[in-house]
Amino acid sequence: MSELVVDIKGVSRSFGNKIALDEVDLSAPKGSVVGLVGENGAGKTTLLKHVLGLFKPRNGTVRVFGKDPVEDPESVLGEIGYLSEIRDLPDWMKIGELMSYTKAFFPSWDDSFAEELRNMFELSLDQKVKTLSRGQRARAGLIAAIAHRPQLLVLDEPSSGLDPVVRRDILSAIIRTVADEGRTVLFSSHLLDEVQRVSDHVAMLHRGKMLLTSPLDDVLTSHHRITVRFEQPLESPLKIDAALRCEGEGREWTVLCNGERARVEAQLTKLNGEIVDRAAPTLDEIFVARMNG
């Protein structure tokens, strides 16, 4: 069992009446890419802020690199590269100033690597953040986050609202990070195709509760999508106990289940349904099924 870079146990947090997190566990083994998925408002940002030490856990524990990020922000944050959807880079700063500013905090800042990234992203030193487009801002934030080669990369909805070219840059950065020996990535996204490509662990948050945390392969192989055809069109929507979600109309229906394939198929056969197809669902389909289930 490799060491855990992020180890969150039993953390809850509410804002007034609204429960943002409810006894949530999350762990990121060293060298893994953990994709945190959930709807908007599910609690992803709140959870990631706990990793950064911006929330003091009221119950439960948060350990990053084995340390408490609230008590020891210097050594914890010094090894984290952070990129968020909000992109709160100061408007008035120039790219060059941003780079020399960030450099002052991280002894492991690599000037040549930063230069290489800057040239690749086509950002000039004199451009002010204010004049950058969203995509360029994301790239600038990315340089600041990865140029010091952090041990842990934390990304909060990095691709939201960005064009495919910038998204490629961000995904490449993720892959490059993890391909370097022993570095870890924790990112939240609701672009599930990206999560499926790049993660090896997935954690699903729904209304503050962690629905599942497991290696991605296990999630994909344990869920099944069964297509069934009936002789007569159904009058009322199909309902199967063991299934997560049934979708369809008339004679053809799709059933998504988690590991209970034999039982589901038995029930379908009892209803005089003919199984026409069995396939592995995409993460997107699994997510939608579980959210609505």
Binding site: S172, I175, V178, D193, Q196, R197, V198, A280, T282
Partner: protein, 132 residues
């Protein structure tokens, strides 16, 4: 090396990579002894987790399609090995099954299908000029 992977396929990514590399080898687009791109570079190109590529390479190696040379990288093995012939049959069988399913659904019988194949092969220009 042109490989494309997609989430909509239904097969795991590593399996898609394995299948496509096998196809490239079998169809001759990858020569024997040619080096495959390093794990990291292929991962960046396809935008997938490097572990996926590593796993694909491991599986290909265990099936003898490729072999890794210590420190130098991963290379395509000699195609004369019997396993690659087995692979060719497997790939073709898959295509044939799909074709048979399709024609059965369309209500076309096996004999008509064979005639269609003959007709088409007269116009067909094989890229490698018919290997056994």
């Amino acid at each position: 090396m042109q490989i494309h992977i997609t989430e909509a396929d239904g097969t795991p990514f590593y399996q898609q990579v394995v299948n496509q590399i096998k196809f490239l080898v079998a169809s001759g687009r990858l020569d024997e002894g040619e080096q495959l791109p390093p794990v990291r570079r292929l991962a960046e190109q396809l935008l997938v987790n490097p572990n996926t590529i590593a796993r694909a390479y491991r599986e290909l190696e265990s099936e003898g399609v490729v072999a890794s040379k210590r420190g130098a990288g991963v290379f395509v093995s000699d195609s004369g090995s019997p396993l690659s012939r087995k692979e060719k049959s497997r790939i073709l069988n898959e295509r044939i099954d799909a074709l048979l399913t399709e024609s059965s659904q369309l209500g076309v019988g096996v004999d008509s299908l064979m005639k269609l194949i003959e007709q088409r092969s007269k116009n067909f220009d094989s890229p490698r000029g018919g290997k056994s």
